[in-house]
Subunit: 366 residues, 2 copies
Amino acid sequence: MSVAGRSAAGDLGSGQGDDAGRPEAQRITLQDVADLAGVSLSTASRVVSEGERRVRADLAARVNRAVADLGYAANLQARAVATGQSSVLGVVVHDIADPYFSAIAAGLMDVARPMRMLVCMSSTTELEAGEREFVSLMRAQRARCLILVGSRSADRAGLALLHAEIGAFTRSGGRAACVGQDLLGVDTILPQNAAGAEALARALAVQGHRTFAVLAGPRGLVTAEDRLAGFVRGLQPLSINVSERQIVRGAFTRDGGYEAMSTVLAMHGPRPDCVFAVNDVMAVGALARLRAEGLSVPADIGLAGFDDIATLRDVFPPLTTVRLPLYRMGEMAARLVLTEAAADRPRVLPVGGEVVLRESTERPAA
Amino acid sequence: MSVAGRSAAGDLGSGQGDDAGRPEAQRITLQDVADLAGVSLSTASRVVSEGERRVRADLAARVNRAVADLGYAANLQARAVATGQSSVLGVVVHDIADPYFSAIAAGLMDVARPMRMLVCMSSTTELEAGEREFVSLMRAQRARCLILVGSRSADRAGLALLHAEIGAFTRSGGRAACVGQDLLGVDTILPQNAAGAEALARALAVQGHRTFAVLAGPRGLVTAEDRLAGFVRGLQPLSINVSERQIVRGAFTRDGGYEAMSTVLAMHGPRPDCVFAVNDVMAVGALARLRAEGLSVPADIGLAGFDDIATLRDVFPPLTTVRLPLYRMGEMAARLVLTEAAADRPRVLPVGGEVVLRESTERPAA
DNA sequence: GAGCCTCTGGAAAGCACTTGCCACAGTCGG
DNA sequence: CCGACTGTGGCAAGTGCTTTCCAGAGGCTC
């Protein structure tokens, strides 16, 4: 017998302990509800869990009454154990404070909420191990779905371990997907990084830019590598060459962009017409560096990024970039994993990027 | 008897179904582990759950061996049911894509991760009801803690309902805290909104500003009201009055700021020296509006915000604001709820704001 | 060598649910 | 008026774990 008798409906105010000492947590179980309603546990369960079996109206009413009176809330954990079906959707992002990730997360959550899925998030700040640990945690939670967003590094060993962990997750019945690179053997929302960068390069060339520097991400980060490669490839038909020394590596963050830009400025030789940062946060960092240097964009130098994060609305000058529908990519991933059954082979959904030319790359009237 | 016999260690690759048709999810239970190790269920449990009771070394080794071979992961849901202790930390924010919230969330998650807490997040976009629903979901999940971040509106009815729901949560043994207003009867991280705005107002006056407009948030949003009131109060000793018509209401978002700024610009009479937006995202929107109008900040008009969100690093001109240690506030909330026991009465931890004067309010040399 | 204590394995009773199965009460056709 | 059928309540057996309790083994003292 649990606490049902002692404290029913009304006393929402007094909420303190009943026993001596510790204010023991009040546990109201379905049994209490059944007792109060004068029905069996099974009947109460049928009413509460809204399953197949119907219950006569008057009994159902009595049960609902009891639920309300007791303030009962079904124990989802217990339900999950009994049914083997949880309603947890795991999400791992690299850094929730980065607008790229938070936009995707927002899209994702907006799909999850109406489906009454519980979104469990981990922000692992690029820690390979943290990611793996979270996947394992999700497996332990028997989460229904898992979405990994963000680029993975091409590190063989780490990737294999992560892959194995995800395999264990799907094998135990979970549904996994990924937003970013198609490296994990699961359904993937795949932004067209190379194609986007290629198109951007061509567009910049059309604008009249001839010499470039690229603020590339860390070596091995696939998204960054793809964008770099696409960009270089886009310039080839025009016989514009991007030499190794014009490619500066840096962290995939604002400060990484700032520092990479410093490196570019410190180089000997003529300043490039235009700088391409492989993502917007780096571009924004680069812009800050240029401003610190007293250089004006685009008059003195052009600057372009990639992603079209929300922040760009408010940096000045408006930055040329390749727009990725971030919010929608989040939605896609969530829908993929929540509404569509797993196919035999992992599916890859490409997402195109759209070149958006803005003031930051306008050529001064020649 | 479960699948233990059928599929052990090696076949991680073939992962498909064993029965006919559906690739049935592989369920490995502790019983399988115990069987394989040749020990009882209880012994296996004692080894994997790392409890008090010690197990002889050789048996423990056998169990660990079996765990590894089977790729077993303890079912956390079942464990939670058995122990009555979950490791879920619920977080509700208004909009995860807003840098204010994502900064707090980041701080919070960084504290939660090393404690192996699972962070479940809900982004409710100011929907009163959604918030309440999530709290109830957390109660159903028997979450250990709950953190509500963001200002609540002063709407009596909605607040009472939310309050009741939170009461039910804590009464059922959960620990709740809130970042924002002290309205929910739980421990609160309370930014000094009024004091910060007051100090800002004085500082602006010292800079020489004499006439002001305020881009206020929606009526009834407590944070916004506090900042407005503080600002007005800060000007009183200097006999500067902010009249009702100089206070423009708008949504607590970038676009809200944009539109509120439009309203200010459309007013008859002389333009104010300086505009105070009650938060930075509004300020940033206002800045965009001013730029669209061809007005220069601060030459034509001053502009200040509140919060010092990360985005501000990259808007130009640098915006005067009141810095709140957002990331740290998230950490504080998480620590409060995770490491400190609930006191008899809700605790309130005030967090001061620091006025940061930047270029956007510099007075042109008189 | 008897008695006592400590150490540790395992049976079994929870934990809060769902659900298969049986039984019983009506209802209807023949 | 009898039997088949349908609708529905409740018992009890799961679900995967923890934990209490008991019992046996071994070590120690006297």
